[in-house]
Symmetry: C2
Subunit: 212 residues, 2 copies
C-alpha cells in the first residue's frame, strides 16, 4: 500500500497524484502543510531528514524526491518507455526540471502566493523570473520539434515538467510567449485519467491576485 | 565514440571522467571553459540550449545533465545495481544532489574560487553555507548506517555526491564535522580505477586561499 505525504498545492507533490491516478494504483494521501512547518517536526524529520515533501511510505519503507518516485512508479509501464538512450533523455529532462526550472518557476510562484506582500523575498522575483523564462524558452525550443519530453510518448518527464509550468502564471510568468508550450500543456491535460491540481486555499489565491 | 564537453574543475563534469574511466570506456574530452562564457556561444547553444556543461556527443547525438548521463552510462553495469526500489533510491540521492546539495556546496565553492574578491555574490556565502551544511548533515546521517548511496555497493549516486563534497572545503565547509562522510570520501577514492579531479588553474587556487 502506498501512502503519499504531500501538500496539495505543491507541484512536486501533484506529480505523484497524477501518475498514481493514471496508473490506477490505489494510494492514501496525507496532507502535510509544508508552508506552515509540517515538514520540520521531529516526527517528519525522523522519516525524511531532508524535511521536504513529497515522501511516500510503501509498507514501512520511505522514498523521497518526487522525480525518483515517478521513476520507481513508472518503470515497466507505458509512462517510461524507449531504449536506454531515450529513457536517459527522459531522465535528463527530469534533472533539468529540478535544477533549471523548479528553483525559479516554482519559487517565484511560492513567493507570490505563500509569502506576505511585504516579504523581503519579493526582491528576488525579477531574477527568478529571468531564469524561469530561460527554462521556459528551453522547453519551447524542444516542443517546437517534439510532442513530448518523455521520448515518443507522454510520460514521467511530461508529468514532472507540467507540475510547475501549468501554474507558472501564479508566479508572474506570461506563458502566451510560448505557443508550443501552451499546446503541450493542453495535450498533457487531455491524457487519459489526468487529474487537475486541487484548488488552493483562499489565502493563497488572494495573495497571487494581489501580486499581479 | 563518446565526446565529453566539460570544464575540468567542474564537479558535474568530473562525474563523467570518473565513471568513464572506471568503466574503461574510451572517450575524448573537449575542454569548455564555462567560467569564461564558452557555454554561451551560438555554436554551443545550438547543441545545448540550456548552455551548461557537461554535454556528451555520441555519434552526433547530444545528451546533457550529468546525472542523466551517469544513468545512461551505468545501466546494466555494476555501477547501477539492485532491484527497482534500490535503483530508485539511487536516483533519489542523485536528485537530492542536484536540488539540495549542488546549488549550495558547489555554488559556494564557485564564488570563492571563480569570482573576484570584491564580487557582490560573496554576500550570498553565509546562506549558501547554512544550506550546504544541511545537505552534508543529511549525507552524514545516511552514512552513519550505510556504506554507500547507491544501494549495497559503490555506484553512480556515490560518484554524483562525491563530485562536490570532496572539494567542499574550497567553499569554506569544514568536513571534519562529518566523520562518516570523511570515511566515505576515502572509500570512494579507493575504488578501482578512481581518478582525481585535475589540478585547478593557479588563479582559482589563489582565490580559494584568499577566501579563507
Amino acid at each position: 500500500m502506498i501512502t503519499v505525504y504531500g501538500y496539495s498545492p505543491s507541484g512536486n507533490c501533484h506529480k505523484l497524484r497524477v501518475l498514481l491516478t493514471q496508473l490506477k494504483r490505489p494510494f492514501t494521501w496525507i496532507e502535510i502543510d509544508s508552508a506552515h512547518g509540517a515538514t520540520r517536526t521531529a516526527e517528519y524529520l525522523a522519516k525524511n531528514p531532508n524535511g521536504k515533501v513529497p515522501m511516500i511510505d510503501v509498507d514501512g519503507r520511505i522514498m523521497t524526491e518526487s522525480n525518483a518516485i515517478l521513476y520507481w512508479l513508472a518503470e515497466g509501464t507505458p509512462y517510461f518507455q524507449g531504449d536506454s538512450w531515450e529513457r536517459a533523455q527522459t531522465m535528463a529532462w527530469m534533472f533539468f526540471e529540478q535544477y533549471s526550472h523548479e528553483p525559479y518557476v516554482a519559487v517565484a510562484r511560492f513567493i507570490c502566493g505563500w509569502t506576505p506582500l511585504d516579504s523581503p523575498r519579493r526582491a528576488d522575483l525579477p531574477k527568478l523570473r529571468e531564469r524561469g523564462y530561460q527554462a521556459l524558452g528551453v522547453m519551447e525550443k524542444h516542443l517546437a520539434q517534439n510532442a513530448w519530453f518523455s521520448g515518443k510518448n507522454y510520460g514521467i518527464a511530461d508529468i514532472a515538467l507540467y507540475a510547475y509550468t501549468h501554474c507558472a502564471d501564479d508566479g508572474g510568468f506570461d506563458l502566451s510567449r510560448f505557443p508550443s508550450l501552451v499546446q503541450w500543456l493542453a495535450r498533457v491535460r487531455a491524457t487519459p485519467d489526468f487529474v487537475d491540481m486541487p484548488r488552493y486555499a483562499d489565502e493563497n489565491i488572494a495573495l497571487i491576485a494581489q501580486s499581479k
